[in-house]
Symmetry: C2
Subunit: 179 residues, 2 copies
């Protein structure tokens, strides 16, 4: 299964505007792109913070064709929200989550944040591609794309303006370390 | 006079790789771009740290057509390095530096870092454009493009792959705040 990290960020690498939770800063062009992009994936993985911020929207859009896996330290706390096959909560390790999705026959997974989830999966070398919307903003502060020191080399696949806007969609493949 | 901030950064907005000083992480494509880009400018402004890191290279390339202004808290400490009209050291405020360059007839200024210099000139609203090379790297730590919280909106002018490499050159114009 291929795992693609999808995020919108400022030019200087923040996925939130200062302390404002969520992605209210993201442009209409990014929101349209995000909805289109998600149709490409048969499953997604994200963290409990992302779930809480977008809970109503997520629950309204559940479908059995697209499994959503929420990584949380307290899966039991979300037991009443769970919908088997469509919305699942787990504290499994990243490798175990990806293995299970692969065994269930999934082929294309979207990793939808936030920063801690990015860190976990990037450090475990489980991310194959990054699709980043670079919004025409500079914030100087906020939640960073990744929190932990890392040293990743990428291959630039595409760089395209989104719908004649000032937002730029860049797609990268993560290069495997030599040796 | 138009002032253009020029920098190379990782995808996640760092202008150094972790604690490594300078821009050794920058690609050959960015280095070639940077040399070409500088010919477009008739003056440049940068900080003392940038000067110390690139001192030999800067002093070897001095020319009277291109004034270089180093912003430092201790201009007297660099008196023996100064070359009037070509290499100057000052503790003037950003506005005063730009006013003086304009009065001297300069038309195109390059702002060459580092982060503190970016902060000073961005907060003073003196930067007209940003030309950023986005290197295909993720660092998670390092010197950020800007250190202080800010909220700037930009207009995307161009986004082009540099010389068939994985490096992306993006050019932005800073939008003036409404009102």
């Amino acid at each position: 299964m291929r795992l693609t990290l999808i995020a919108a960020q400022s030019v200087d690498g923040f996925i939130t505007r200062h302390d404002e939770p969520g992605t209210a800063f993201a442009s209409p062009a990014d929101q349209a792109h995000f909805r289109r992009a998600l149709t490409h994936f048969d499953c997604s993985v994200f963290g409990a913070t992302t779930y809480r911020v977008a809970r109503d929207q997520i629950r309204a859009g559940l479908s059995h064709g697209r499994r959503r896996v929420v990584l949380t330290r307290q899966p039991a706390a979300y037991a009443s929200d769970a919908v088997p096959g469509a919305l699942e909560f787990t504290d499994d390790a990243p490798e175990a989550i990806i293995d299970r999705l692969r065994q269930l026959g999934h082929r294309e997974g979207a990793l939808l944040g936030g920063a801690e989830i990015h860190d976990l999966f990037l450090h475990a070398r489980l991310v194959d591609e990054l699709w980043l919307t670079i919004e025409p903003r500079i914030f100087g502060a906020g939640t960073p794309l990744v929190r932990k020191r890392v040293d990743l080399s990428l291959e630039l696949l595409e760089a395209d303006r989104l719908d004649d806007s000032d937002s730029l969609l860049v797609k990268y493949r993560v290069r495997r370390p030599a040796g």
